[in-house]
Amino acid sequence: MSPREAYVLLEDGARFEGFAVGADRPAVAEVVFTTSMAGYQETVSDPSYAGQLIAFSFPQIGNYGARADAMESDRVHARAVIMRAAVDRADAPGAVAGWCEWLTAQGIPAITDVDTRALVRHLRDAGSMRGGVFPGSVPEGEARALIEAEPAMSGRDLAGEVTPAETIVLEPTGAPTDRAAVRIAMVDTGVKRSIVENLRARGAIVELHPCADDGAALTASHPDAIFLANGPGDPAALGHVVATVRSLVGKLPVYGICLGHQLLCRAVGLETYKLPFGHHGANHPVKDLTTGRTEITSQNHGFAVLGPGGARTIENDEPVRWETEFGAAELTHINLYDRTVEGLRLLDVQGSTVQYHPEAGPGPNDARYLFDRFVDEIAAAAINH
């Protein structure tokens, strides 16, 4: 079979040629790149990538096939996959299918042979933008129209596409040694399986709630804490979730990861903004200001929280404090690459969040300790309650 021509077109007109290796249809969305060198399947099945096209900067993707244990949700959320050298082999130990074959079966368009480094450099300089992956048969004019029709990422509510229809309750998988199980109500804006598994492994009962649930629905089963999940889209577009969270802050401990971090921050009156090309990868250094340790983190976000005085970056490695509508917040984590806010805690009410992904999947496990910290705090609060 001769290779099927395909191309990537960006909204600014930049075009990159390649061959189609997935579903044979156009896909349009915001184009982002990730520098993670492994974990491609975890990446595409991460609901946070809903509404995005993923370009992998690592050239060979698909080396160990598609595996049953590498899913971060029940399906692929990325709208298409852009690669330099797709590998399609089913014979790797533990593989259930070849990578391209699997993407095709999932109905996901994919393109290979693209000069992804040139594409990444373009996005780095020009910022993330809309674009698409198109079969070679689609005329460029038509492709451009499809891109124009796609709404911009800023202001988009994509959580509704990935949230469960009704609440799911999951029992712990690990027993806490010295305390009773804690009950966590998760606002599921597209939670990754690894987050849920990390909480369950530490003895938590996890309820996954549709993100439209109000405060009453979230607290109906008397949870010990609210957990705000990761997820796709612009936190500013999720006013209803922010309002729900706001109603619960101070009443129950609130924790969050990624989008959840942004939602809690907005709920206490802090602002979020869009990063030029986001953080997507598995090698960003983040400093835990409570211990002074640097950890290598898994990152996947396009928006970030503004620091004290509305600053985008923070100059010193200090646990600076700033006022929220619920009292003081203290910086707990800072990104050493671009000095943006990576985590904070509320001092006057119980709440703590991080922007990055302590659950890894894919990426390093350095920050797993955060789940211990979070669950310990929740358990301690439950006893005092």
């Binding site: 492994a38 060979q60 160990y64 050298a85 082999r89 000069d115 090698n283 400093k287």
Partner: protein, 1044 residues
């Protein structure tokens, strides 16, 4: 945490001579460390016995000692210099072992020297097998089941638990020396015995076999605040069982799913914490069973290693530089990433390309040696290549190896499959051939245990037309991309490039990332993978060329593919192209760079082979012209030139074929030095003594006409001047004026390759008149050739008076670094300035008025790898076989020679038993040696004939049995450790194999074995000098009056 200000003076130990398992990578790491520590305001004292290193350039450290890396000399250095701290983690295993010894003998404590980087406990926990195993178990990590054995019986006892096969790893040896695999009970005595003998503490680890599992390495960095990052993961294509230095490897790892890789990462971090390496880089090796996902920790090096150098070059993360900063107190976060200049070093590099490392072997130099690859490292160098995909990087690595001849594969399928299953130097060539012939990856996986992913990729590679040989396998155009540590997430400031076949931009042109700028550039071609005859000396010269080009206001552009070197540090040049050194790849760089010229004089044979092709492509060659190179290399042209100058040369002839050679041989006269034209660097060069010997040679070596090598059937015949003294001269010439930099007299007589011979500067026995003639003829040759740059001339002095020109090489010679260190002037830099147009007269060189003002004698000694190649003869000959060199500096020749011997690892005994057996012609001369040694109270034993000759001269020599003459023969005595020094010269004709077993036994026991009379005389004088007093250490800065 900021830098420590409680320490001011830091002692750094180098790794000594280049040997297998410890190569130029430690020059790279040590040089980086010296520079960084000085930038930080520390005073740096360096000890290294290897003159061919950038780190021993007098301006790199504050005080530089070229002294043996032994406790005696280093204690003297500590006594004189009183350093506050010793940094032992950047000089390989040699430095680590030495630091350990200095701790154990109380020296460090006595002088209040603190070990920084890794303390004694951490070193011991990582290096002592038993402690390591216990440490891992305590950290909850799995290691292969194993036992410590200090006797053969221990091994037999462990057998029921371990099963077969099992692995033998001796404690405290370099690159796994003496290790092996026991496949059957019958192997135990041999393999375990060798391991016990190789370990300085007589201890081996015998462990459960994980043969066939995947092998992975992680490069780990840790700082004082316990922050840890993984710089790079490396996956071996060869499964467990082959030393990682001998494996083809790829970075980053390719086949592990993320979840499993993260487990390795977690474990690597747990290992460095458990061992307790406080700061700096370490390397952790794992075996992974891809089916069960079991992980076992194999070993860890608590120091910067060969893999660290590879990881640095593969990622752009300068491990040694950062390790040095961490050792003086900085944290990773406080150190900026050079490449982005915007982000800190506390991150993990993200690659958007693939790196393949290929080992370079030299088995052809060691006939008789087993070429099976085991846990005992045998490669002499390596090439690295970068490509966007594994296939591309692999194909580039194939080109980068620079093999003299492509390995051939057998016709039979079963035979071919057997070769793929057995790890050997050409394993992957056989694998590619099998795939070409249609053998399935699945079958190859069964036979080799190589991960199917690699086999499938290689199967695709052989299906792509021209892929394995052509520069660009994919549909695309050659595009230069940068290595930036971050997969383009941030803008790179450091110009480190590789080429890749990539789709062109919208205008159809390649989208290069190279910012060429406006300044004129000069391209320096590096020396490619290290191999015997093509070593670190040439990299040293290339680095000097780059520095000189930069100082001249031009951009220095380096092209090289050797990851172990200083030249491939992105700091060395203005732009680094990490590319194979083939004509096509180099011309492509030239097309982009449009250089003012290309320097081919400094990188040894590698760039010289490209000179004619570059010239034809219209690319300017700097310095000596192509025609002059040809004039010096073409035997008839050069012969004519010598004749016109009135200089003598040994009779020679060029034969077209074997028959022609036999016919011409008598005209030239025996003995003959004979070699085929198709190989370089003394390969296949032999001395034959009669027609029968020549016939035998032609049968073994000559391969007749070969269409691939036009003129390949040519045979060179030279009269061999027996018993003559060889002399090497290095000189500079600007086309007109000539400056003699150094005259070196060889210690071994002619017939030993100059690279393997010890040499002395200034000459120790030549008269003034002879020196004048040597200078005069060197000047004459330099002018006649029109040399612009460096010239090396080799002479032979036959009898008392006759001077013969052996050859002239208008390029950097192997002795350039040695001469530079001896005379205190940077010869390669001066040559480069001449090549860039400066006349000699303006360089401010000292005038030669015939007076010898040198206060010291310098001896260069070669280091030979025989202990690595069981089965190969340790005899020196016209074919070069040394891997490295050391230098001894002292006020007199015997002391300098003794220092050089000690530095080379063949420390001469000061008392004991000497065994002498020499050829008949050598017997009179041997008497002098024997009598000198007897006066020093040595017991002299000898074979019957030699003993008789000695006794006649009044020496009390005891006769002992030859091999086969009965019990208690010479080999038995050597094996039992009853002999301390062996002097064995081969007999004249074809008896060169007679002493083979004696020499092999001596090499195996690490007993100095001298194979020439002149070497024996020098040894006797050196022992006399050493008995008088311990040689004093002296710094280069004192020597050349530049001490501050």
């Amino acid at each position: 945490m900021p830098r420590r200000d409680d320490i001011h003076k830091i002692l750094l130990l180098g790794s000594g001579p280049i040997v297998i398992g410890q190569a130029a990578e430690f020059d790279y790491s040590g040089t980086q460390a010296c520079r960084v520590l000085r930038q930080e305001g520390y005073e740096v004292v360096l000890v290294n016995s290897n003159p061919a290193t950038i780190m021993t350039d007098p301006e790199v450290a504050n005080t530089t000692y070229i002294e043996p890396l032994l406790t005696g000399p280093v204690t003297q250095v500590i006594e004189r210099e009183r350093p506050d701290a010793l940094l032992p983690t950047l000089g390989g295993q040699t430095a680590l072992n030495l630091a350990k010894a200095l701790h154990e003998d109380g020296t460090l404590h006595k002088y209040g020297v603190e070990l920084i980087g890794a303390d004694y406990e951490a070193i011991d926990r990582a290096e002592d097998r038993e402690r390591f195993r216990d440490t891992m178990a305590a950290a909850g990590l799995r290691v292969p089941k194993s036992f410590i054995a200090t006797s053969l019986q221990n091994a037999y006892d462990a057998l029921p638990v371990l099963g077969l096969p099992f692995i033998v790893r001796p404690a405290f040896t370099l690159g796994g020396t003496g290790g092996g695999v026991v496949r059957s009970e019958q192997d135990i005595d041999r393999v375990v015995g060798a391991g016990l003998a190789a370990s300085p503490i007589g201890q081996v680890l015998i462990e459960e076999s994980v043969l066939g599992w995947g092998e992975f390495e992680l490069e780990v960095m840790r700082d004082r605040s316990d922050n840890v990052v993984i710089v790079c993961s490396i996956e071996n294509l060869d499964p467990m069982g082959v030393h990682t230095g001998d494996s083809v490897t790829v970075a980053p790892q390719q086949t592990l799913p993320d979840r499993l890789y993260q487990q390795l990462r977690d474990q690597a971090i747990a290992v460095i914490r458990a061992v307790g390496v406080e700061t700096g880089g370490s390397n952790v090796q794992f075996a992974v069973n891809p089916h069960t996902e079991e992980i076992v920790v194999i070993e860890m090096n608590p120091r910067v290693s060969r893999s660290s150098a590879l990881a640095s070059k593969a990622t752009g993360f300068p491990i040694a530089k950062i390790a040095a900063r961490l050792a003086v107190g900085y944290t990773l976060q406080e150190i900026p990433n050079d490449i982005t200049q915007a982000t800190p070093a506390s991150f993990e590099p993200a690659l958007d390309y693939c790196v393949v490392k290929w080992p370079r072997f030299a088995f052809e130099k060691f006939p008789g040696a087993e070429d099976e690859l085991t846990t005992h490292m045998k490669s002499v160098g390596e090439a690295m290549s970068l490509g966007r995909t594994f296939k591309e990087a692999f194909a580039k690595a194939l080109r980068s190896r620079e093999l003299d001849t492509a390995p051939g594969s057998p016709d039979g399928e079963e035979e071919l499959l057997a070769l793929t299953a057995r790890p050997g130097a050409a394993r992957f060539d056989h694998l590619l051939e099998a795939l070409r012939r249609g053998v399935s990856p699945a079958l190859l996986n069964q036979r080799t245990s190589i991960n199917p992913w690699f086999l499938e990729e290689l199967a695709e590679l052989v299906r792509e037309p021209g892929a394995a040989t052509g520069p660009i396998p994919a549909a695309g155009v050659r595009t230069y991309k940068s290595v930036d540590t971050c997969a383009a997430e941030f803008a790179a400031r450091t110009p480190y490039y590789y080429s890749s076949g990539e789709r062109p931009g919208p205008d159809g042109a390649p989208t290069h990332e190279v910012d060429r700028g406006e300044r004129p550039s000069v391209i320096i071609l590096g020396s490619g993978p290290n191999r015997i005859g093509q070593g670190i000396e040439f990299d040293y010269c290339c680095v000097h060329a780059a520095e000189t080009v930069r100082e001249s206001g031009r951009d220095a552009v380096m092209v090289n593919c050797n990851p172990e070197t200083v030249s491939t540090d992105y700091d060395t040049s203005d732009r680094l192209y990490f590319e194979p050194l083939t004509l096509e790849d180099v011309i492509a760089v030239c097309e982009l760079e449009r250089p003012e010229g290309v320097v081919v004089q400094f990188g040894g044979q590698t760039p010289l082979k490209l000179a004619a092709g570059l010239h034809e492509a219209g690319i300017p060659i700097l310095g000596t012209s192509i025609d002059a190179i040809d004039l010096a290399e073409d035997r008839s042209r050069f012969g004519g030139l010598l004749q016109s100058l009135g200089y003598s040369a040994p009779p020679f002839a060029t034969a077209r074929c074997a028959e022609d050679a036999l016919q011409r041989a008598p005209e030239v006269g025996f003995p003959l030095l004979v070699r085929p034209s198709y190989v370089l660097g003394g390969r296949a060069m032999e001395i034959v003594y009669d027609l029968a010997g020549l016939e035998d040679y032609l049968r073994r070596v000559h391969r007749g006409s070969d269409p691939d090598h036009p003129g390949g059937s040519t045979i060179y015949l030279d009269r061999f001047l027996e018993d003559s003294i060889e002399v090497d001269v290095d000189a500079l010439c600007d086309g007109e004026d000539v400056w003699i930099a150094g005259i070196m007299q060889h210690v071994e007589e002619a017939g030993i390759h100059s690279g393997d011979s010890a040499c002395v500067l200034p000459p120790h026995t030549l008269g003034e008149e002879m020196l004048e003639r040597i200078k005069e003829q060197t000047i004459g040759i330099a002018r006649a050739l029109g040399v612009v740059g460096l010239l090396n001339v080799q002479f032979a002095i036959h009898g008392d008076e006759q001077l013969f020109v052996i050859e002239a090489n208008p390029r950097a010679s192997r002795t350039v670094p040695f001469v530079s260190k001896a005379i205190g002037l940077p010869l390669a830099k001066l040559a480069c300035r001449v090549m860039l147009g400066e006349p000699l007269a303006t360089l401010g060189l000292p005038e030669d008025d015939g007076e010898d003002r040198s206060s010291h004698v310098c001896v260069k000694e070669a280091v030979l790898p025989f202990s690595r190649f069981a089965g190969a003869d340790s005899l020196l000959g016209p074919e070069m076989r040394s891997t490295g060199e050391v230098m001894g500096i002292a006020e007199d020749f015997p002391t300098a020679f003794a220092k050089a011997q000690a530095a080379a690892g063949a420390r001469l005994p000061q008392s004991g038993t000497v065994f002498i057996t020499v050829a008949d012609g050598d017997k009179p001369a041997a008497t002098g040696i024997a009598s000198a040694l007897q006066e020093l109270d040595f017991d002299v034993i000898a074979t019957r004939g030699t003993a008789q000759a000695l006794r006649r001269m009044g020496i009390r020599a005891t006769a002992i049995n030859k091999i086969g003459e009965g019990p208690d023969n010479v080999v038995d005595r050597i094996v039992r450790g009853q002999v301390d020094l062996v002097i064995n010269t081969p007999t004249g004709t074809r008896a060169r194999s007679d002493g083979y077993e004696i020499r092999a036994a001596a090499v195996a026991r690490g007993i100095p074995c001298i194979t020439t009379i002149s070497g024996g005389m020098a040894a006797a004088r050196a022992i006399t000098a050493a008995r008088r007093s311990e040689p004093r250490v002296v710094s280069l800065q004192e020597l050349h009056g530049t001490a501050v």
